[in-house]
Amino acid sequence: MMDLSVQLPGLQLKNPIMPASGCFGFGKEYSQFYDLSKLGAIIMKAATGEERYGNETPRVAETPSGMLNAIGLQNPGVQKIIENEVPFLANYDTSIIANISGSSIEEYQFVASSFNQTADVHAIELNISCPNVKEGGIQFGTDPLMAARVTEIVKSVSDLPVYVKLSPNVSNIKTIAKAVESAGADGLSMINTLTGMQIHLPTKMPVLANQTGGLSGPAIKPIAIRMIYEVKQQISIPIIGMGGISNAEDVLEFLLAGADAVAVGTANFQNPFICSEIIDDLPTVLQKYGFSSVQDVASFAKRGVTI
């Protein structure tokens, strides 16, 4: 059996595959389809300080090879997640990553420290890339100084490793990546969705009640690959790559671009078994292209043959 394992700060992954935040809920629904212990890790849906209802519906739209969503961070709030959701996931032999979000530095701080006291959470994914998250009108995710500040503060209250999730809606992703690395990030997670819109011809209005939404799916894969490739050359912390992954070949493409592990989002909606199937297919695909393990791909990428 091929060795698919990956060691990342705080995460001993049996394979590099995890469902992306917001695309797998808190795992319960998908546990009816396959054993979640098969997964490298699970990234939970975003947690905020209090319960949030999110945006009005419609919240989703279909686009060519992709989709738009404006769920608006609906979640039961960090306390209920810790009480009701984490214990369920803790039954499985997989790592749990908590995706945290907030509207203010204080909220981030609160959510991060709440998870810090939770035995079964292994890492934090710090979502600074959600369009809802602004302070002084500027998104944390698009301003290097703000991105660094929120990273520092979350790090200061957290013993868990922090993976900062970057927004692709920026002129220069390298600057942000370097800023959060300097601020103490243990890793990066990239990319979040690109802001998009669709107009419904019959009503002549945006399809989404929120007007704009985040574009995900295969359509954005070339942008994700480019950004990971660019950033990898500038930093030395690991990257969890995502954006349009829908099969094992895509995973290898991300690993070659410089990702150390990957998350699968939108593809779960088309095929609820996708993460499980990708894990099954990965050894064959790696072998086909001459690799003997996931670590082997990482070393290859590091030797600078692609990078």
């Binding site: 917001g22 809920g25 519906t57 989703v60 609906q74 799916g217």
Partner: protein, 250 residues
């Protein structure tokens, strides 16, 4: 339990304007589907699955019938699938209609592509000896389907908006003309459900709702609707699509 199943298209028929009836062979689904549940159908070249209600089940033939309107690109593409081809579907999804055990008369009120799920419900109720009265609304004569099938369950009023067939007007104009009933079950466009639940406020009623869906299984929060008390929410795909008329805000 929801499963991902491969279904084989046994028949595909245009039964009204832009309206297709498809018969799908699958043993698991035919054994497990209840009225009001839906299939979440993968259509080639489309990111998101399409939710389509189960309109009928034939246990002997192990088939499920769906009826859908060609509206956008997904349903158009689905209508082009030919007999013998297979589809990847999730199902059966959602909670489905639960028949109140003591009901002796049911009122079914359907509008357009809200009619299909009521058909399977009417059939089941009728098999149990419940009296079924139906009011079916369509845009015009060309859009009418399944009138004969509902007539087999009991009294059936067909209403068209333009009066080109049956009665002229809206389904809500005719609920008063019906005798007493125990519960009503309805599915159709949001404005119709809104008007209907208001009109039948005192009655016990169940409505089936639509919303744009992603996962279809309750994981993504795409399809939520606030509860009547505005304090909570329901997921249409998993907690619904059928709700008590009092449960949610339309």
């Amino acid at each position: 339990m929801i499963r991902r199943e491969t279904v084989m298209i046994k028949n595909s028929l245009d039964i009204a304007a832009d309206t297709v009836e498809m018969t799908l062979h699958n043993s698991y689904l035919s054994k497990n589907a209840i009225p009001g549940q839906f299939l979440h159908i993968l259509v080639e070249g489309h990111t998101l699955r399409r939710p389509i209600s189960i309109a009928d089940v034939n246990n002997e033939e192990e088939t499920i019938t769906i009826i859908f309107k060609k509206l956008g690109s997904g349903t158009k593409c689905l209508s082009a699938y030919e007999i013998g081809m297979t589809l990847d579907v999730l199902g059966p999804n959602g909670n489905g209609f639960l028949l109140e055990s003591k009901d002796s008369t049911l009122l079914l009120v359907g509008g357009g592509v809200g009619v299909p799920p009521l058909h399977y419900l009417g059939k089941k109720a009728s098999e149990k000896g419940v009296e079924v009265v139906s009011i079916l609304g369509f845009q015009n004569k060309e859009s009418v389907f399944y009138e004969e099938k509902f007539k087999q369950f009991g009294k059936t009023i067909v209403v068209t908006n333009d009066g080109s067939y049956g009665e002229r007007g809206y389904v809500t104009d005719f609920v008063q003309t019906i005798g007493p009933f125990d519960s009503y079950y309805s599915c159709g466009p949001a404005p119709m459900l809104h008007a209907l639940t208001k009109k039948l406020e005192g009655h016990r009623g169940y409505i089936s709702l639509e919303e744009r869906m992603t996962c279809g299984i309750g994981a993504c929060f795409a399809c939520v609707i606030p509860t009547s008390d505005q304090l909570s929410y329901r997921k249409i795909c998993a907690d619904g699509p059928v709700f008590s008329a009092k449960e949610v805000v339309l």
